[in-house]
Amino acid sequence: MTVMEQRGAYRPSPPPAWQPRTDPAPLLPDAEPYRVLGTKAAEDADPDLLRRLYAELVRGRRYNAQATALTKQGRLAVYPSSTGQEACEVAAALALQARDWLFPSYRDTLAAVARGVDPVQALTLLRGDWHTGYDPYEHRVAPLCTPLATQLPHAVGLAHAARLKGDDVVALAIVGDGGTSEGDFHEALNFAAVWQAPVVFLVQNNGFAISVPLAKQTAAPSLAHKAVGYGMPGRLVDGNDAAAVHEVLADAVRHARAGGGPTLVEAITYRVDAHTNADDATRYRQDAEVETWRGHDPIALLEHELTERGLIDEDGIRAARDAAETLAADLRARMNQDPVLDPMDLFAHVYAEPTPQLREQQAGLWAEIEAEQEGTH
């Protein structure tokens, strides 16, 4: 039909009915970060869970302090501390079942430790020792991931694969506020939503990506507002309120396990230490800001709640501290021994079988080392 013929009698039809593919309203985060401690919601919280969280926070804080100390002693090459962020780290680990998977970023050794990974193994990478210190399948913790946000599609793929296999497995992936700017963040969330994969994304918004404050990272109302653009719920939570983070994550995990698909959780917290021991945070932020956040300390918050409500006593607190000291002492002791690395390992795992080229190179290095050792004997 030509344009001329279309005139007159012809009436264009209305467009095919359009409606949003999902209702956006329930996907939007609340106007305020969700809080439990110090609110009425705390009354419903399970006291055992709170005590467990508390013990882990205290242990986590001590772990952070010890790891940082180890960098000063030259026992650890670099340490990105999660001091101040322990509530997120610990809650992430505790929200999961044994059959679930955790996908940590390079900052999240504490989450791995809280999930059961041996601290020395968790720190292997940061010690300058081998790239990963633990078998990812043992505790279902993926290797610490350094290239930002690249672990997110892995978590989606794994969760999707588990569901395809009929396994009741949820993946929880942790990423920083800075990491949300990467394309991989976007692609991972989109795949997760399209596939309705059982995965939970935890953004630890700690205010900074090294020196870059959130305001230079995003203009979004909140990072949780990104969720609606993928068709998944976005949740905002006080990242220093361990009970709140745990509740929100546990809900999201349950939702995912039940086939409800992915959730994006933004936890608002603060990186109290410098980016790593090598960083000088005074170059880009004011002490006053740090002090404000120290006042809203995750351990203090929870301890206050527990004490006020008589859920913990001196002994309980001491027990938590003792357990933390035990961890620190053990870590100190074991990190004091130099690891022994086998240079032949350099060639052993590049492929299932070393290529002829690698075998040649391995033989060359072997000869060099032999010659060296003969030289020194």
Partner: protein, 334 residues
Amino acid sequence: MTTVALKPATMAQALARAMRDAMAADPAVHVMGEDVGTLGGVFRVTDGLAKEFGEDRCTDTPLAEAGILGTAVGMAMYGLRPVVEMQFDAFAYPAFEQLISHVSRMRNRTRGAMPLPLTIRVPYGGGIGGVEHHCDSSEAYYMATPGLHVVTPATVADAYGLLRAAIASDDPVVFLEPKRLYWSKDAWNPEEPPAVEPIGRAVVRRSGRSATLITYGPSVPVCLEAAEAARDEGWDLEVVDLRSLVPFDDETVSASVRRTGRAVVVHESGGFGGPGGEIAARVTERCFHYLEAPVLRVAGFDIPYPPPMLERHHLPGVDRILDAVGRLQWEAES
């Protein structure tokens, strides 16, 4: 002895059959990529797989290559064997961080605990009149990335055999499919497809005594043609089809060059920093005293892939190969 009923098959069909047979043999094999499901791929290489195995086994993904490869990594972590299609060579670039930083390194990172049995199919090369971004030869990038196998078939039989081997491999394999050979045909027996080839073995496609043409993928038929034409000039050329760029079959290649004493490396990819440099260098390291002339290279120019109307000038053709053979210092011959 039963008579074998041979039928013609295209390389595209052989590849499709390889995926089909692999999926039938192993429920862990999953095919994924842009348009691989309902459409069967823009080159129809995945035709029929979604129908036969369902959309969960042959999945149309969202349009995001890093996401495709990144989720495939996660799937492989959980024991699946993803076969990923990158729609065209140049559209694999967005996935390079996942490829270099994770696919190639996960096994090594975890000291063998977390291997990634992953096949990445990449249609590559030119000669099909494709516009910008549809004709890149990006094998140099893959070769320079330890932890990847890099494989490319030149025949219908190898397309099947090598793809089966790639999917069966416990290592990530970049499987480079020469686009312009997709429609090349060979007789094969549909009842009993060719053998699964081990990865890492070159093959002598044509024996000869004057000089060796070292080549792979889309340039193999061109070299065979050149070898035929060379007979008029009195040269008897050997043609080695590498099939696998990583691992590299030094044995077969060096043996050939030691026999002939002269070699030309031929590929479509740009010359500078391309595969030919590596090949020429390692052949020279191994065969120096057998060489009558330096190993020469015939390659694409060091330019972005040209527009279709100029591509014939860019692609290594018979004349350019014979020119190079002619420069192998025959006058030095006694």
